[in-house]
C-alpha cells in the first residue's frame, strides 16, 4: 500500500469496526428485550436491579438537579437583566430544566454511577467465570444478568428524570424567591402555565431512552470484557464513555424529533 493511503485505510478500518460495534450492540439490545418475559423466574434479581439503578441513584440525582436548577435560575436572571428581561426566569428555568437539563443531567449521572457499577460488576463476573458458571447451571446469563438491569433502566430512569425535574424546578424556585426577589405564588404560576404536556412527554421519553442506553451499554461492555483487572477497567472506561456520548447524541435526536420543526 502506498504511504499516503495508510491514513485512509486507518479511517476505513475504524469506520468498519464502529459499524460492527453498532450492529453487535443492536443485536445485544434485541436479545435483552426478548428475554424480558423470562424475568418472572427471577423476581429477586429484578428487585435488586431496581434498587441498584433506581433507589440508590436518588440522592446523587436529587442533589445534582437542585444545584443545576439553582444555577440555571441565577444565569437566566443575570443574562435576562442585560435585556431587561429578568421576569422570564420562571418560564425559562422551567423549560430548560424539564426539556433539557433535567433529563441530560440525570442521564449523565446514571451513566457515571450506574453504567460504571454495572459494567464493573458484570466484567468481574466474566473474569471470575461466574457467567460460564451460570451456563453450566442451566441458566441463561442474558435473562439472569442483562434483562433485569435493562428493565430497571427503562423503568427507573424516567422516574429519576421526573424526580430530577421537580427538584431542579425547586432549586430554581428557592434561588428566585430567596435571592432574586420573586414571589412564591407568582413564580409557581408562571412556571406551571408555561410548561405543557409535550415538555413533560419529551422529558420522560428521554429518561426511557437514556436508561436503556446506560444499562445496555454497561451490560454489553461487561459481557465483552477482556481478561483480568485490566479488562475490567477497560470495560468500565469504554462503557461510561460510550454511554455518555450516546446519551448526548440521543438527546439531540429526541429534541429535534419533538421540536425540530
Amino acid at each position: 500500500m502506498t504511504p499516503y493511503l495508510a491514513p485512509l485505510a486507518l479511517i476505513g478500518r475504524g469506520t468498519l469496526a464502529g459499524i460492527a460495534r453498532i450492529g453487535q450492540i443492536t443485536l445485544f439490545t434485541l436479545a435483552a428485550l426478548a428475554r424480558l418475559p423470562g424475568l418472572v423466574r427471577f423476581p429477586r434479581e429484578v428487585a435488586r436491579a431496581f434498587m441498584q439503578v433506581g433507589w440508590l441513584s436518588l440522592p446523587i440525582v436529587g442533589l445534582t438537579a437542585v444545584f443545576t436548577g439553582a444555577a440555571l435560575a441565577l444565569q437566566i436572571h443575570a443574562g435576562g437583566s442585560r435585556l431587561s428581561a429578568e421576569m422570564v426566569v420562571p418560564q425559562i428555568t422551567a423549560i430548560g430544566i424539564v426539556r433539557e437539563l433535567g433529563p441530560v443531567m440525570v442521564g449523565l449521572m446514571v451513566a457515571a454511577r450506574v453504567t460504571a457499577s454495572l459494567a464493573a460488576e458484570i466484567a468481574t463476573m466474566k473474569v471470575t467465570e461466574q457467567i460460564d458458571a451460570l451456563v453450566t447451571l442451566s441458566t441463561d446469563p442474558m435473562t439472569y444478568i442483562t434483562a433485569p438491569r435493562v428493565l430497571a433502566g427503562l423503568v427507573c430512569v424516567p422516574v429519576l428524570v421526573g424526580v430530577g425535574d421537580v427538584l431542579g424546578l425547586f432549586g430554581g424556585f428557592a434561588v428566585a424567591t430567596g435571592q432574586l426577589g420573586f414571589g412564591a405564588e407568582s413564580y409557581i404560576r408562571a412556571s406551571w402555565n408555561f410548561l405543557d404536556g409535550t415538555d413533560v412527554a419529551l422529558s420522560l421519553t428521554k429518561g426511557v431512552v437514556f436508561g436503556g442506553i446506560a444499562t445496555v451499554i454497561a451490560c454489553h461492555a461487561g459481557f465483552h470484557a477482556g481478561r483480568g483487572a485490566r479488562g475490567v477497567g477497560q470495560a468500565v472506561k469504554s462503557a461510561v464513555q460510550s454511554a455518555a456520548i450516546l446519551i448526548l447524541a440521543a438527546n439531540v435526536a429526541l429534541t429535534a424529533a419533538f421540536f425540530g420543526g
Binding site: 460460564d132 451456563v135 453450566t136 447451571l137 442451566s138
Partner: protein, 239 residues
C-alpha cells in the same frame, strides 16, 4: 459419552489446540495434564460447549454439539471452576441450590435448601456455613462449596478445572480425595484439568498429556510411571 474429533482452536493465529481428538468414556475419570498455556482449559470449555472450535466437532452421546444438545448436557453436568466461580450476592446455600431452584427441575425453596445442606455435608462443610457469603470463606472452603454446587442433583458428567490450585498441600490432598470419592459414588464420567501429578494419581483412571495443543501421551494412570516420555518424566520428577 463425549467425543472431540479433530479439534483445532486458534487465538491470534496461534493454534492452542491442533487437530486434537479425544473420547471421554462413560464412567471413566480422565485427567488432562500439561504445562500452563497448553490449551487444557480451552479443551474443557470446548467439551462443555462454552467455546466453539475453529475446526473439528464435538459429539455428545453421538449427537453433534448444538444449543439443544448443550442445554441437555448442562442439565446433567457439574463443573468446579478454577476459582470456584461462586456468586458473590448469594449465600453458600443459595449458591449450592442454584441449579435446583433455577434449572429445569424447579425444586421448591425448602427442598432445594435441604439438598444443598446434604451436599455441603458431603464435601465436609457444616450447616453453619450455609448462610454465610462466599467472601466470608477461605479459599479451601470456597472450593468445597464449588464442589458441593457441582455434585448437587447427582450429575452424570463432572468437570474439575484445577481443583486444588491455590490451596495448601494438605487441603489440596483433601480436595483430591474428595473429588475421587464423589466421582466414584456418583458413577460419573469425569474430566479433570490439572498440572499436578499428585492430583492425577488420586483422581484419574487415565491421563492425557497435552503439549502445544496436541496429545503427547495418553494411557491409564497405572502405566504412567513406566512411560518413557521426557515431559511426563519432568512432571513425575516434580511430584
Amino acid at each position: 459419552m463425549i467425543r472431540l474429533e479433530h479439534i483445532t482452536k486458534r487465538f491470534d493465529g496461534r493454534a492452542v489446540l491442533d487437530d486434537l481428538s479425544l473420547d471421554l468414556t462413560k464412567g471413566r475419570s480422565l485427567a488432562v495434564l500439561g504445562r500452563s498455556g497448553t490449551g487444557k482449559s480451552v479443551l474443557s470449555r470446548i467439551a462443555l460447549g462454552l467455546m466453539v472450535p475453529d475446526a473439528g466437532r464435538v459429539l455428545v452421546i453421538d449427537q453433534p454439539m448444538s444449543a439443544k444438545v448443550r442445554r441437555d448436557l448442562m442439565a446433567k453436568t457439574g463443573v468446579l471452576f478454577q476459582g470456584a466461580a461462586l456468586f458473590d450476592g448469594l449465600t453458600v446455600a443459595e449458591n449450592v441450590a442454584f441449579r435446583l431452584r433455577n434449572g429445569p427441575q424447579r425444586v421448591s425453596r425448602l427442598a432445594a435448601r435441604s439438598q444443598a445442606l446434604a451436599a455441603l455435608e458431603r464435601v465436609g462443610l457444616e450447616a453453619r456455613v450455609a448462610d454465610l457469603y462466599p467472601a466470608d470463606l477461605s479459599g479451601g472452603m470456597q472450593k468445597r462449596v464449588g464442589l458441593a454446587r457441582a455434585i448437587v442433583g447427582a450429575p452424570e458428567f463432572l468437570v474439575f478445572d484445577e481443583p486444588n490450585s491455590g490451596l495448601d498441600p494438605v487441603t489440596a490432598g483433601e480436595i483430591d480425595r474428595l473429588v475421587r470419592t464423589l466421582v466414584t459414588d456418583l458413577k460419573a464420567t469425569a474430566l479433570t484439568i490439572t498440572h499436578d501429578m499428585a492430583s492425577v494419581a488420586t483422581i484419574a483412571d487415565e491421563v492425557l498429556l497435552l503439549d502445544r495443543g496436541r496429545v503427547r501421551w495418553h494411557g491409564p494412570v497405572a502405566e504412567m510411571e513406566g512411560a518413557e516420555d521426557a515431559l511426563l518424566g519432568q512432571f513425575r520428577a516434580r511430584r
